[in-house]
Amino acid sequence: MNRSRQLALVLIVATLIAAMGSHWVASWLKVKTTAAQAFTVGKQNGNPPAFLAASSVGGYAISWELISTQLDMQIKVWGIAGGSPYEFEQFQKRVPEARTTFIVVSTYDLDEALICDFRAAIVPIGQTIETLRTIHSDRDYWKRTLKQYPMTWLRTLFPTLGRSRGIMGRLRENVVNLIKPSSHTSETLAGPTIKFGKGAADDEYMRQKVSDWSKSQIAGKLVATRVDFQGAHSFNGPKRLAFERMLQYTDKRGRTIVIVLPVSPAYSKEFMHPEAVQEFEYALTRLQQGAPRAEWLRLDQLPGLASDENFCDLVHMNIFGKQIATEALQTWLKQPAHQP
């Protein structure tokens, strides 16, 4: 065999080995490779279902089973790890019969510096280019957003590509579990797991409290989160535009309930500087002005909820926080002013 053919063969063998290894690691470590997972909460009872636009932050914070029972309607939701209105928007039109829409957000998932790992698999490239042009995005943001598309294509062959942090988190978790089987500390390193259905509260991970963590653990999580953020924290970009469009869409069709969730004080202290808080509030004000009929519940302003006691990691609530937040939402929904 001549050297050119030999090299071609070597490269094919190498690619195959790497691809097989990548698929094996993805399945062994249960790395999330599907962009969105559909969930239905509650039973179909003839009433039009509600559409829920929420990332794992919303899934952890509210017991949607209870809300479904209280409102007597099924809730349809697509779980997207690290999702934001920019991705939720794509699923909104899949439930045209919905007369009630819940949009659950926080400073974490509305932050434009954080781009969902699955964005390119969900949002068509044409729409992304159009959005980037509309917001006059800078070059770095263009590059960061558009490079996700070839990455998504390559992930067919190598599902672990660009997911090193999740892999290392899972790997570490597996090793720690081997040594100490009850350990459950590195969930966010591997990326949040989305829980919308029953049994979520039984998860051992959700029982831990950030307040019990050592300073070292908090420091480690903050580093991991900082890696996800690239560029300055901002709340004025594609996510806000998509949020605006979602509100306009639901405004014509029925009731919209926007729930703003808190994040842990450890997170706020590190990432939400006064200018970022101001920009976040300004973005919410503009959204409220753009859709005056939408109903807003600011759980981030609920006294006592934003405590490290109520979070199982930097942004996800634990079962204690979930109980408080769910009760607050149930009470709010019962108020005459918020009856449909």
Binding site: V10, I12, G21, P150, T160, I167, S216, A219
Partner: protein
Amino acid sequence: MIFTSFEFVLFFAVVVGVRSCLRNFNVDKWFLLVASYVFYMSWSIPCGFLILGTSLTDYFVGVGLGRIENERKRKLLLVVSIVANLGVLAFFKYSNFFLANASASLNVLGFEVPRWHFDILLPAGISFFTFQSMTYTIETYRRNLKPCHNLRDFLLFVAFFPQLLAGPINRAVNLLPQFAQRVRATILEFESGLAQFAMGAIKKMVISDQISPHVDMIFAAPGNYDAVTLLEGVLGYAVQIYCDFSGYSDMAIGCARMMGFHFMENFQMPYSSLNITEFWRRWHISLSSWFRDYLYIPLGGSRKGTGRTYINLLATMLLCGLWHGASWNFVFWGGLHGTGLAIHRAWKQWDPLGTFKEHRFFQLAWNIFARLLTLSLVLVGWIFFREHSWTAAWQYLSRIATWSHDGTRFASPYILAALAAVILIHLMVPKDSNWSINFPKRPVFVRGLAYGALLFLIICFGATDATPFIYFQF
């Protein structure tokens, strides 16, 4: 365009693909020149004109040096080239440093002056391409090199994209003749270049980029951590900077070899050095040899007595420190290494251990001690190199020296794993060989398995954020 980005992979694939279709040698070189300028201008368009300007100056100086026989005039031409290159470097890199120090000094003397500052954008790779270009005029002046009469070849020598941003600083004597020949990579060279590129990508993406957030966190607030964590931080930085810069060099050398060009090696297991002199023969070889050949030896080297040798060593390393950045931290870092080199030289001449070194056990123990001592000096140097201010560096060092217990202890599994990997590589891989050269001669199955493993590491553990290389700031 960073070597680890999608854009670069695409750009390089296009360059290699188009070159393979070009049959005309002249067109091929024009194409490489255009590609190199496109690569550089993707960082900054105006900076493309700067590199063109400095290249033209040195080209015409070189032509002049070839024509003129009068030694005084030749020296004058060389001075023109040095002043032009160092002037550009000084303006872009050191203006604010000099201005800040001047205003601070005047304020100390009682003159109330405001803090002067220019808004200057530091052109990427300026320290590298000016030094590379200077090797041409100096060697032409010394008559070690014939002047290049082909402007295109000379422009390509300065701007050739694999080495443009952070070296290796290739000597005109080695690289320029390669542009005069019809160069095409053999399949063996291509594979060897690809293997070296992949190894560099692993160093950068799997090790350096993964630990950098952890190292950054520790260096950002050293007062918050205990001594163990601070030690972990500086060890982490030692690993990060080595993997980042040697990774870049491997990728640059690999890219060039895939196109048939040969660059000098830049790193050879520096952390396994037995003394600081050996460290500088293994760390950033192209820069250390540049300073040796164009500064230390012209200053007199070791030919003008013991005292003068130490002064020459110190002066060379102080300037080497300043080359890295416009800050007193870098000057101190250079001074520390210069002092280390001088002390090692004195120790070697004194040789107090004499025949003790012949005992096998003593030799082993001494080698371990010498390695640790060398590494300690290098680590202390890295603290000053990495910290943004003098005060922060001292705080960092004093907290380690006093073995401070107050503060958080943060054990980063990333840093510890990377440290273990680098120690293992330094122990297992022969110090003076480049595995990628001979590896393509191994059987197909072995190569397929090895490259598959390298690709697997990048795909599973590589950071894909395309973080800029540390040495781009210099």
